[in-house]
């Protein structure tokens, strides 16, 4: 893109300093909403912008905020900085390099939600980052951007950093809230949704770091400007994380709707060592795996188009697979992850990931039979639609799609067809 909207640190390296951020228009958006707008107006702007949640679900942010139960206070805003999906490392760059734009986004969201307290839930591994973020927040108090009577108004806001302690499941918003309340990070039964009963049973907005970082430019430049980027239903810029077998791994900020081919071959430099592309996991380990065909490569990466070809955009964390990767091994790796991270609350996920892991441990060593692959499929199908949260559904996606779309890999491992 001509100009970075989210990763502004790439254009302005010192933007993590408050003075530099202010020189480049920082906190103008927050000032504008606090001094000139009603919370409801801010929600409308975000709705019109079409901004969708960047954590994976792609739910429209403004719509989510409008579900807050009316007239119940206090309310809370929680920034989800638990970034733990294998293949995802975008929020980390924002938090490390462009923290004030994120914090301004938290402030704007809090004003819109009429919340006076916001928490940034950082995964525990982001220890160093959380320390820095606390210093940045302290600077905001010193300058009067946080605390009482912000910009001379009667609006008051506190932002606190809360460290998790190592659990993927805490990225799921209700598990995150449980964890923030000091309990085991296990998902809640919904409804009630967090907008009705969230943190401390109060109306709560939970949004991903990248989602919130979009808010300052939406306010200063307008909803129409934002909606003009991307596609009609998937608006705005997106940070695509590129990892796996790729020449230039890293974060790439591009409009939603950019094709797989452009990202992988133009920006990412293609596949190393002259190998060919075998498959793509567009949503990290939680992906339905796509084959590296021309049809897939020419598909635009927006929520609708990726769904149409049998996968999901999710958090847009692309893991690239070359021709040397056996997908049975890959399913073992993802299942090992989900088995470890299953919180144990619901039986289909706890037991299902356990058994899939054991079957795949045999299969990847070449000690499985074709019947094992059938059994694996049955276990996965037994979990489908029966788990309490998305983790269980995520766990089966690479398993089922690897069996369906890369059957030869399993045949090679199980010796079917005499191979």
């Amino acid at each position: 893109m001509a100009e970075y909207i989210l990763l502004r640190n790439r254009d302005i390296p010192a933007i993590d300093k408050l003075d530099v951020y202010l020189e480049h228009g920082g906190f103008a958006a927050f000032k504008q909403v606090v001094t000139e707008k009603q919370p409801q107006e801010v929600i409308e702007i975000v709705k019109v912008s079409g901004l969708r949640g960047r954590g994976g679900a792609g739910f429209p942010a403004g719509v989510k905020w409008s579900f807050l139960t009316p007239n119940v206070f206090p309310r809370y805003v929680v920034a989800n900085a638990d970034e733990s999906e294998p293949g995802t490392f975008k929020d980390r760059e924002i938090l490390e390099r462009n923290p004030f734009q994120f914090l301004e986004g938290v402030a704007i969201c809090s004003f819109a939600a009429q919340a006076n307290t916001a928490y940034v839930y950082c995964r525990g591994e982001f220890w160093d980052l959380a320390q820095t973020l606390e210093q940045k927040i302290a600077e905001l108090y010193e300058r009067g951007f946080l605390g009482e009577n912000i910009f001379g108004s009667n609006y008051k806001l506190d932002i606190f950093v809360h460290l998790g302690a190592g659990a993927y499941i805490c990225g799921e918003e209700t598990a995150l809230l449980e964890s923030l309340e000091g309990k085991l990070g296990q998902p809640r039964l919904r409804p009630p949704f967090p907008a009705a009963e969230g943190l401390f049973a109060k109306p709560t907005v939970v949004n991903n770091v990248e989602t919130l970082t979009n808010l300052p430019p939406i306010i200063t430049r307008g909803a129409d400007w934002f909606a003009s980027i991307g596609t009609e239903r998937s608006t705005g810029p997106k940070i695509f994380c590129l990892s796996g077998r790729i020449v230039r791994p890293g974060n790439y900020e591009l409009p939603l709707g950019t094709t797989f081919r452009e990202l992988i071959f133009e920006h990412g430099g293609g596949i190393p060592d002259g190998k060919s592309i075998k498959g793509i996991m567009p949503a990290g380990a939680s992906s339905a795996i796509l084959p590296g065909t021309d049809e897939v490569l020419d598909t635009p990466m927006d929520y609708e188009s990726v769904a149409k070809i049998g996968s999901q955009l999710g958090s847009a964390s692309l893991i690239i697979l070359d021709e040397t990767i056996n997908l049975g091994w890959l399913a073992y790796k993802t299942t090992s992850f989900f088995k470890h991270e299953s919180c144990g609350k619901c039986t289909p996920c706890r037991e299902g990931t356990y058994w899939m892991y054991h079957i795949l441990s045999r299969v990847k060593e070449g000690q499985g039979s074709p019947e094992d692959v059938e059994l694996l499929r049955e276990v996965a199908q037994g979990m489908e639609g029966k788990c309490l949260c998305a983790l269980g559904e995520f766990a089966i996606m690479p398993v089922l799609t690897s069996i369906e779309r890369f059957q030869l890999d399993y045949e090679a491992l199980t010796g079917k067809n005499g191979s």
């Binding site: 970034e83 733990s84 999906e85 294998p86 293949g87 995802t88 490392f89 929020d91 980390r92 995964r123 525990g124 591994e125 982001f126 220890w127 160093d128 320390q131 606190f160 809360h162 460290l163 998790g164 302690a165 190592g166 659990a167 993927y168 964890s179 923030l180 309340e181 000091g182 309990k183 085991l184 990070g185 401390f200 994380c241 590129l242 990892s243 796996g244 077998r245 791994p249 890293g250 974060n251 380990a285 964390s317 893991i319 697979l321 990767i325 890959l330 790796k333 993802t334 992850f337 470890h340 991270e341 919180c343």
Partner: protein, 166 residues
């Protein structure tokens, strides 16, 4: 006792949460205990439970659930190598195996001098800079990215110089 030594810090932690919701302070307090003792002992669990007016099992259960909390001292410096899929695609499994071999230990074990422990862990959000690991020590967690065996052994040498704690 944490309450006496860290009186002020505990008050600061509690101030982040509504007074009637002080259970929310349990993870920060567990980190504090780990910083003080190097791991979360039964005594620390009891003390935190008392501070927050919780049952000790409500505190102790968290130690088993969250991977960064440790029931046992282990090595002072825990080298936690990500070997999840994206890192594995960039050679993390070979890297992790080689590192263990160099140190003469298996995953989950600690070197004889008690300083270095090596663990395989799940995704650390550093997939583009693999092989990578974090070092968890009582005072915090730090990332080391774009590593090879030589650079990692250099890191370990520095940690050993700082010596065992706890």
């Amino acid at each position: 006792m944490l309450a006496e030594k860290y009186n002020q810090e505990i008050d600061q932690i509690l101030a982040k949460y509504p007074p009637e919701e002080k259970r929310a302070a349990v993870l920060p307090l567990l980190y504090l205990a780990q910083r003080e003792y190097g791991f979360v002992s039964i005594e620390a669990i009891d003390e935190i439970a008392k501070l927050l007016e919780l049952d000790p099992t409500q505190v102790g259960g968290l130690v088993g659930f969250y991977t960064l909390l440790h029931e046992h001292p282990g090595g002072t410096y825990k080298i936690q190598i990500c070997t999840d899929l994206p890192c594995a695609l960039r050679g993390a499994e070979e890297f992790a195996g080689q590192l263990c071999e160099n140190l003469g230990i298996q995953f989950g074990e600690t070197t004889e001098d008690g300083t270095i422990m090596v663990e395989e862990v799940k995704c650390l959000a550093g997939c583009d800079r693999a092989p990578m690991f974090q070092v968890q020590e009582p005072d915090g967690i730090h990332y080391y990215e774009d590593q090879n065996i030589e650079s990692a052994m250099g890191v370990i040498q520095e940690l050993r110089k700082r010596g065992k704690r706890g």
